[in-house]
């Protein structure tokens, strides 16, 4: 079977596990919403909240990403499933792409809810003019996050102290996404007079990031999970 076929099987398996366990809906989404409410407590000013809402959406996404990635690989390591896949001769490229795809789908749902929460909680307004930019930002940033999440999740999987290792490894790497996606979202929402045209250069950065880690991950994933 080619890598793409494997990827689809792995992604479908991950999403099925998710659908049956409902961890994303029952635990991660409430966690992400809680983080949003905590931000509101900490910042304690309606105007400030509206101003920094795009950054908070992405910050909450990063924290939730950690939780989702931990979960995604906990499923694999619990019964030595990752090792079993490798012993069965399944190509690592397929596993990487499949897990990234499943992560992408879960993050997309999460971000949609977080953005909706921003509109309700932080009085963010989405204008028709910025919708294309907003959707492109989400697509590009989420793809990059899914690749990085899978790559470092695979590395930390099965390691001692992986809960603490993963944030240490992953957060510095996703910083460019946080910056780029925040700025592009600000442009799409017109925060502080920004216009959608200000956002497009950041899309370039986000796409470059996703492409580099997509290619890097495809090449490196096999060596990282090799036990």
């Amino acid at each position: 079977m080619n890598a793409w076929g494997i990827a689809r099987l792995v992604a479908a398996k991950d999403l099925r596990v998710e659908w049956r366990s409902r961890i994303l809906i029952n635990q991660v989404l409430p966690f992400a919403t809680l983080v949003r409410v905590m931000f509101a407590f900490a910042l304690d000013n309606d105007q400030t909240l509206t101003r920094v809402a795009p950054g908070l959406v992405w910050l909450a996404t990063m924290f939730s990403l950690l939780v989702v990635v931990q979960r995604s690989f906990a499923v694999e390591t619990a019964d030595g499933a990752l090792d079993a896949l490798q012993v069965a001769g399944v190509r690592a490229t397929g596993i990487f792409l499949g897990k990234s795809l499943a992560l992408l789908a879960q993050l997309a749902v999460l971000e949609l809810v977080l953005m909706g929460a921003a509109v309700v909680l932080y009085r963010t307004e989405v204008h028709a003019g910025g919708v294309v930019l907003l959707v492109t930002t989400y697509a590009a940033a989420t793809t990059g996050l899914a690749f990085v999440g899978t790559l470092y999740g695979g590395l930390a999987a099965g390691a001692k102290g992986r809960e603490t290792l993963l944030p240490l490894l992953m957060l510095p790497v996703v910083a460019p996404v946080l910056i780029g996606a925040t700025r592009a979202t600000e442009a799409a929402l017109g925060t502080e007079g920004a216009t959608p045209s200000d956002g497009w250069p950041w899309i370039g950065l986000l796409i470059l990031f996703a492409a580099l880690f997509g290619v890097g991950g495809t090449m490196a994933f096999g060596s990282l999970i090799d036990e």
């Binding site: 790559l151 590395l155 390691a159 001692k160 290792l165 240490l168 490894l169 510095p172 790497v173 910083a175 460019p176 910056i179 780029g180 700025r183 250069p201 950041w202 950065l205 470059l208 990031f209 580099l212 880690f213 890097g216 490196a220 060596s223 990282l224 090799d226 036990e227």
Partner: protein
């Protein structure tokens, strides 16, 4: 410089100094003398700067350690690539990468602390969100993560492969962080750690700093990678020795 031979831990004469050789002793003495000179020139003989006053003396430590931190991470990247390349695959490269990263983290720490002290004197604040500073801080954290990955366990080959991939990913990450921060705060991009005009004696002090810190780096890396080699030997032979000892007992 002989990086490949690690002295046997059991050879009698060397047992006292298991990682030192005549070369490293000479190197260590040279580094020590250089640092003595640096103290003399940096603290006493070189004059105050017109603008920064005595604060300029921090630069004699700050600039060399920053240069060495970047050099160290460069060495880590290159030796990781050398390990991953099949023709040059040798655990020696992995240990060199690890040793260099450890020393790099040390120098990066010195860079950040001395830099923020200097910033407090010159700019009135310990930290600014300028691209160079932020990238440096990220580099520091990234290589701490790299060292954590080295400790994950497994066979030497697993460790080497995993950490070599990590080192290359870190080299991919650093330019991305640098450029994104540069775009993020475009107003600050010119606010870099410029030295201003340095007179001859100041330049000479800086030069001594560079030379003596470079010697110190080489000395530390040679020792560290030999200690790492001994660690690997202990891992490899530990079980055999334990078994042999057990047999003798019975």
């Amino acid at each position: 410089m002989n990086l490949t031979s690690s002295p046997s831990p059991t050879s009698g004469a060397r047992a006292k100094h298991p990682t030192s050789t005549r070369f490293t002793r000479a190197l260590g003495i040279a580094a020590l003398v250089g640092i003595g000179w640096l103290v003399l020139f940096g603290l006493f003989l070189s004059p105050n700067d017109r603008v920064q006053k005595t604060g300029v003396r921090i630069l004699y430590i700050h600039v060399p350690s920053a240069w060495l931190a970047y050099l160290a991470f460069g060495v880590t990247g290159l030796s990781s690539a050398a390990y991953l390349w099949k023709r040059t695959r040798n655990l020696q490269w992995d240990r060199l990468a690890g040793a260099s990263a450890e020393v790099g983290v040390l120098f990066m720490g010195i860079t950040l602390v001395s830099g923020s002290l200097w910033g407090r004197i010159s700019w009135g604040q310990f930290w600014t969100w300028d691209a160079r500073l932020t990238t440096t801080a990220f580099l520091f954290v990234t290589y701490i993560g790299y060292l954590a990955v080295r400790d994950l366990g497994g066979t030497h080959q697993q460790r080497a492969k995993r950490s070599a991939v990590m080192a290359l990913l870190a080299m991919l990450e650093v330019p991305l962080v640098h450029f994104s921060v540069k775009w993020w705060r475009p107003l600050h991009q010119n606010e870099t750690v410029e030295k201003g005009k340095l007179n001859g004696l100041m330049l000479f002090s800086l030069f001594i700093g560079l030379i003596s810190f470079t010697l110190l780096y080489v000395w530390l890396v040679i020792h560290r990678q030999r200690v790492l080699a001994l660690n690997d030997q202990v891992d490899d032979r530990g079980l055999d020795l334990a078994l042999a000892a057990r047999r003798e007992e019975s």
